[in-house]
């Protein structure tokens, strides 16, 4: 946490309300996001209990597993979820634009023009918190290798047909969520924490309702009081007034509400089985009604704990939509669209599901991509948002000031003199401005590089020699240089992400990284019949 964030948190403690950490919105928000609130069964890794989802805040849909330990019911749930979610994910696949590019012919080395499809838009999933993202990743991992009834060898526990496909999409989305600045799958707590500071610790910010309490505390309460109420206030029966955002449920809800409801369902199912064995049609009819009632009751109690979080997520979206979008959002969202299109193409090409563990080449590529995106995100956020730039100024990586003097000067070492004017500015910032260090002008008419030639900390002045971005003539292009009295900002870091050295082709993978694919023994096909109980 930087000192600026700490300061914002201190101010939030004093004001009792969330304080801004950004002046613009730094993440793309879709016009039609899919909000998804998952719940998991306690004690079982990745075992789903229920999910509430939808693109319409007034029409959430609920799916649940009446007995989380029953594999068949779990598959039924996943099939329902797939039937609900996949049409949304696939609805963006059809509308494409053609992007022109060039490709090198591997034999002749000639460049040829190619067109690639890029989906015009992409899906966006919003979950309440980071644990929700991890839960979706677990569901993805547990379902993408399943064999289905349609496979040649379905194995002992075939899954419904679309379940593995759901697993592959969830794996892709959760994997993409690891890329800094990506927006295909976003946790609401992360979104809010990026844009506002609360007067509590980062740890407490993981609780969505407590985090939101700082935005709109009820009259007469401070954010801290409202947050504590969201965390711990209980009703007469000992149930939380505001259930946690999941995926884990409150233990006391499990004990006093959920467990009895599941037991009622189990008893009804047992009675149904018994009556079937006895061939007692009247009893079976009664038992069927009892099962239906038990499921209805489960739906009721689960909807009751999901709805507050559902409303919270939409409330968070309202808050975020009130911020103006940052300038570089379109560019980053295009990256997300490429990611979506790429996965669509891999599915269409019939590629196998993502492996359990990445091979060396894929892992290195993913790591390089995440590092590159992190750098790009930092730079773009700084360009889009003065508050983000303030972080760099505080760190001595940038400085802003008013131009006091522009002195024409020329580099006469070449055949024709080149303009190398000196710009002096007065600044209150204290940059790590070593002489000779390269600086980059922010928001200039074109990319402009300069070199620090003099620093006077006592006077608060920095003098730079402008090196580029002035056109090709003898005199600088009009308007390419800042005027005296103008406010300018320079950074000591480059404003475009540098390309990292290319990775070797898969066939040239060094032995330290497992050698070329095919050389190493192929890991056993993940068991499609993996135990899951």
């Amino acid at each position: 946490m930087s000192l600026l964030t700490t300061l914002a948190r201190l101010q939030a403690v004093r004001s009792g309300r969330a304080e801004p950490l950004a002046t613009v919105r730094h993440r793309h928000l879709s016009d039609r996001p899919m909000v998804l609130v998952p719940l998991t069964a306690a004690g079982e890794s990745g075992a789903p209990l229920a999910v509430m989802l939808g693109t319409d805040r007034d029409a959430p849909r609920l799916h649940l597993v009446p007995q989380p330990l029953n594999r068949t019911l779990r598959f039924d749930f996943l099939a329902e979820l797939a039937a609900d979610l996949l049409p949304y994910l696939e609805s963006f696949a059809g509308d494409v634009e053609q992007i022109e590019g060039s490709e090198k012919d591997p034999e002749t080395g000639e460049k040829t023009q190619v067109f690639r499809e890029l989906c015009a838009d992409a899906p966006q999933l919003i979950v309440p918190n980071g644990a929700g993202v991890r839960h979706l990743a677990l569901i993805g991992r547990s379902t993408r290798f399943r064999r289905t009834v349609e496979d040649e060898e379905p194995g002992p526990y075939p899954a419904p047909a679309r379940v593995p496909l759901l697993g592959r999409w969830l794996t892709h989305l959760t994997d993409r969520a690891q890329v800094p600045g990506s927006s295909l799958l976003l946790p609401m707590t992360g979104l809010l924490a990026r844009h506002w500071a609360t007067g509590q610790s980062h740890l407490e910010d993981q609780h969505l309702a407590a985090l939101l309490a700082w935005h709109a505390p009820p009259p007469g309460l401070t954010g801290a009081q409202a947050a504590e109420r969201a965390e711990s206030a209980r009703d007469g029966q000992g149930q939380l007034l505001h259930p946690p955002a999941g995926p884990a449920t409150d233990p006391r809800f499990d004990e006093f509400v959920l467990a009895p409801a599941i037991a009622r369902y189990d008893a009804a199912v047992a009675a149904l089985q018994h009556s079937a064995e006895q061939r007692d049609e009247a009893a079976a009819e009664r038992a069927r009604t009892a099962v239906k009632d038990a499921v209805g009751q489960l739906e009721q109690v689960l909807a009751a704990v999901l709805l507050p979080t559902w409303r919270d997520v939409w409330h968070g979206l309202d808050l975020l939509r009130a911020l103006p979008p940052a300038g570089h959002l379109e560019e980053r969202w295009t990256g997300d669209r490429w990611s979506y299109t790429g996965h669509r193409d891999r599915l269409a090409a019939g590629e196998p599901p993502q492996p359990r563990q990445d091979d060396a080449v894929t892992a290195a590529r993913k790591l390089a991509q995440r590092e590159r995106e992190q750098t790009r995100l930092d730079v773009q956020e700084a360009l889009d948002d003065p508050l983000a730039m303030a972080e760099h100024r505080l760190a001595g990586e940038a400085f802003a000031g008013v131009v006091t003097e522009v002195v024409p000067d020329y580099d006469t070492t070449g055949r024709s003199p080149k303009p190398r004017p000196l710009v002096t500015l007065r600044t209150a910032d204290r940059p790590h401005a070593d002489l000779g260090r390269e600086a980059h002008r922010v928001h200039g008419p074109s990319a402009q590089k300069a070199e620090i030639v003099a620093v006077d900390p006592a006077e608060g002045t920095v003098t730079l020699r402008v090196l580029s971005g002035m056109g090709r003539r003898k005199e600088p292009e009009p308007g390419s240089l800042p005027e005296p009295g103008e406010s300018v900002t320079f950074t000591l870091f480059e404003l475009t992400a540098r390309q990292s050295a290319p990775l070797p082709e898969p066939d040239d993978t060094p032995w330290t990284h497992g050698g070329p694919p095919g050389g190493a023994p192929v890991p056993a096909v993940p068991s499609a019949s993996e135990e899951w109980e």
Binding site: L10, L394, R430, G460
Partner: protein, 409 residues
């Protein structure tokens, strides 16, 4: 699983035990267990927790009486799952446990030696059980060929002058040495598990290893090795790798992984030795302070909530937001930290960042530049000027204007 039990303190520490019993009142004593020790070791500066734990005060009940009950609980589903998993491990004479252990110790699979499971008198008091465990451990260590499993043994550890009884899930003794077995119900998925949970399990296991090391050294009449990284090869001394047994992937089948806990062991030793002697902490308490949670026949509590609050206030706490997930009194201490306007409420790191500034008011005063005496204050004022400029809230905010108005106020 750790079970809290009545622990009659005895032996030479009689006056201390007497004082601790007075603090607790007539309520049954809660014993220190490995989990609470690990939590205590994570925050060794907290005198409040050290005294309450040493006195065996029921912190859950105390928190409820203070008006901010602990938010912890365990779902019946998680408990059921744990029971099923443990019963699987015990099936077929602990086969699921022994096979990975043999592999880990480099022994051939199924060498035929039968497994001995001595009775450890689980129904007795902890002192008796600890003696019985020591006896069984000595006997098992004397026979290097045999395989002995001590199911839920009881270990004793001296912490800041008071005895703590610890109950590991199991100990396996073979070749004259023992290995701590820790059974957890979080899964190992594709060969890796949640690092936070593995870390917590390792810290907990390190407490057991430390207790066993102390015991082995005492039994051999030798001092405990000064360097925590040296493994003393004494009869019955523990290996510094523990066996973590977890469900594999999404199933209920166990998988065992050896976890080297030497680093955690070193940390635990250092933290526990840093813990101030309980006797000294008790001496600082005003006379007559106690945490009597009992109630008389009419249900009238012996102490009012105000009295309890005042008693708790006599012991300084070292609150940080991490406490909320490890300590029953976390919510209470947070409320106090907020009341006192302390900066710790925002996290441990913040305190370091702000140097000598301890309260929110002082920090905000420094941010307005009113009190720019030290480095941290100066940086805060600079940060405040930058923030005000970026948000465009300060009057006359401009480049280099040195805006001093407080943003968002």
């Amino acid at each position: 699983m750790n079970v809290s039990t009545n622990v009659p303190l005895g032996g030479p520490a009689e006056p201390l035990a007497q004082r601790l019993a007075e603090l607790r009142g007539p309520a049954p004593q809660r014993s220190l267990n490995a989990r609470s020790l690990a939590a205590l070791a994570a925050n060794p500066g907290c005198h409040r927790r050290a005294v309450l734990d040493a006195a065996g005060v029921d912190k859950t009940a105390l928190a409820a009486r203070l008006g901010r009950p602990a938010p912890f609980g365990q779902s019946p589903f998680a408990i059921a799952r744990g029971v099923i998993f443990e019963s699987r491990l015990k099936a077929d004479d602990y086969a699921a446990l022994l096979e990975p252990l043999r592999a880990h110790l480099g022994l051939p699979a199924g060498d035929g030696a039968p497994l001995e499971v001595p009775d450890l008198l689980h129904r007795s008091g902890p002192a008796v059980r600890a003696d019985r465990t020591a006896e069984a451990l000595a006997r098992a260590a004397a026979e290097p060929e045999a395989w002995t499993l001590l199911d839920h043994p009881m270990l004793r550890l001296e912490v800041a002058g008071s005895a703590a009884y610890l109950e590991p899930d199991a100990l396996v003794v073979h070749g004259g040495r023992c290995t701590v077995v820790e059974i957890k119900s979080f899964p190992v998925l594709d060969g890796s598990a949640d690092p936070a949970k593995v870390g917590a399990a390792a810290r907990q296991a390190a407490v057991y290893v430390l207790a066993l090391q102390q015991h082995a050294a005492a039994a051999a009449g030798r001092p405990l090795a000064a360097d925590p990284y040296t493994e003393q090869r004494l009869p019955g001394s523990p290996r510094t790798s523990v066996l973590l047994v977890c469900p594999k992937d999404f199933g209920n089948r166990p998988t065992a992984v050896a976890v080297d806990v030497r680093r955690e062991l070193a940390t635990t030793r250092r933290q526990l030795s840093r813990m101030t002697d309980i006797g000294r902490l008790l001496a600082e308490l005003p006379a007559g302070t106690d945490f009597d949670l009992a109630a008389d026949q009419d249900g009238v509590p012996a102490r009012t909530s105000e009295q309890l609050t005042a008693a708790v206030e006599t012991m300084p706490a070292a609150y940080s937001p991490d406490c909320l997930s490890t300590c029953e009194l976390g919510f209470h201490c947070r409320a106090r930290a907020r009341c006192d306007d302390r900066v710790e409420q925002l996290g441990r790191g913040v305190r370091g960042e702000l140097g000598s500034i301890r309260t929110v008011s002082a920090a905000l005063a420094a941010a307005t530049g009113a009190d720019g005496t030290d480095d941290a204050a100066e940086r805060l004022a600079y940060a405040a000027a930058l923030r005000a400029e970026a948000l465009g809230v300060a009057v006359g905010a401009g480049v280099g204007a040195g805006a001093s108005a407080e943003a968002g106020a």
